[in-house]
């Protein structure tokens, strides 16, 4: 079965420092991986996805993610954090082949401190 783990409930980082939000996955078949962000009182917004190709994927708002097949990881990164990046981040994997579902991780709350 497809599953996603986000090992950190909370990540704190100082403004201007690099940030990493971790995600590991377990899938049958090829992994189709996504990151979404949820700002307060909002729905989720798509950040980026990995389907195939280059292991470093660039997305919205300066975020990028690195796919590592051997470690089954898809960590979200940003070189220089902004206070406005403070939000809840969800990693997701496409559901079983032939299905339409996405399986989401539990979420990681990122706080960027001024």
């Amino acid at each position: 079965a497809q599953s996603v783990a986000q090992p950190e409930d909370q990540v704190n980082v100082a403004e201007g420092n690099p940030l990493t939000v971790k995600c590991t996955y377990s899938v049958s078949g090829n992994p189709y991986l996504f990151w979404y962000v949820q700002y307060p009182n909002r729905g989720l917004q798509f950040l980026l996805k990995y389907i195939t190709g280059d292991n470093l994927v660039k997305g919205s708002y300066g975020f990028e993610a690195e796919f590592n097949k051997s470690q089954t990881s898809f960590h979200l990164k940003k070189p220089s954090a902004l206070v406005s990046d403070s939000a809840l981040y969800f990693c997701a994997v496409r559901g079983p082949p032939g299905g339409q579902n996405f399986v989401f991780g539990p979420g990681t709350r990122l706080s960027v401190l001024p």
């Binding site: 996603v4 979404y36 729905g43 969800f90 579902n101 996405f102 989401f104």
Partner: protein, 114 residues
């Protein structure tokens, strides 16, 4: 931009009431989804629909039903609300065919069942 609109931002209902949550999307998407979001659990799929009048159970369908009479509208029904259905409910949509297509989310409905 795609817009997914959920009819209510906040709802307060009594135990045993029948509750309707409405969702409308304006981009002619084939697929529509209902998730519930609970802290530490991420998003869990309740039901999804891949066409008018078609529906599939997700991971936690018990206590819920859905209706999709028109392509743009997907309703979630709580037949007899219970306190353990207090949650944030998120509607999402995407196009059919491409299994890797990102989800577009509404802003969510925070339901409290007293």
């Amino acid at each position: 931009d795609v817009k997914v609109t959920q009819s209510s931002r906040y709802l307060v209902k009594r135990t045993g009431e029948k509750v309707f949550l409405e969702c409308v999307q304006d981009m002619d998407h084939e697929n529509m989804f209902w998730y519930r979001q609970d802290p530490g659990l991420g998003l869990r799929l309740i039901y999804f629909s891949y066409d008018v009048k078609m529906k599939e159970k997700g991971d936690i369908p018990e206590g819920y039903s859905v209706s999709r009479e028109k392509k743009e509208r997907f309703s979630l029904i709580l037949e007899s609300a219970s306190t353990n259905q207090t949650s944030m409910y998120l509607c999402a949509s995407n196009t059919g065919g491409d299994l890797n297509e990102k989800l577009f989310f509404g802003s969510g409905t925070q339901l409290s069942v007293l």
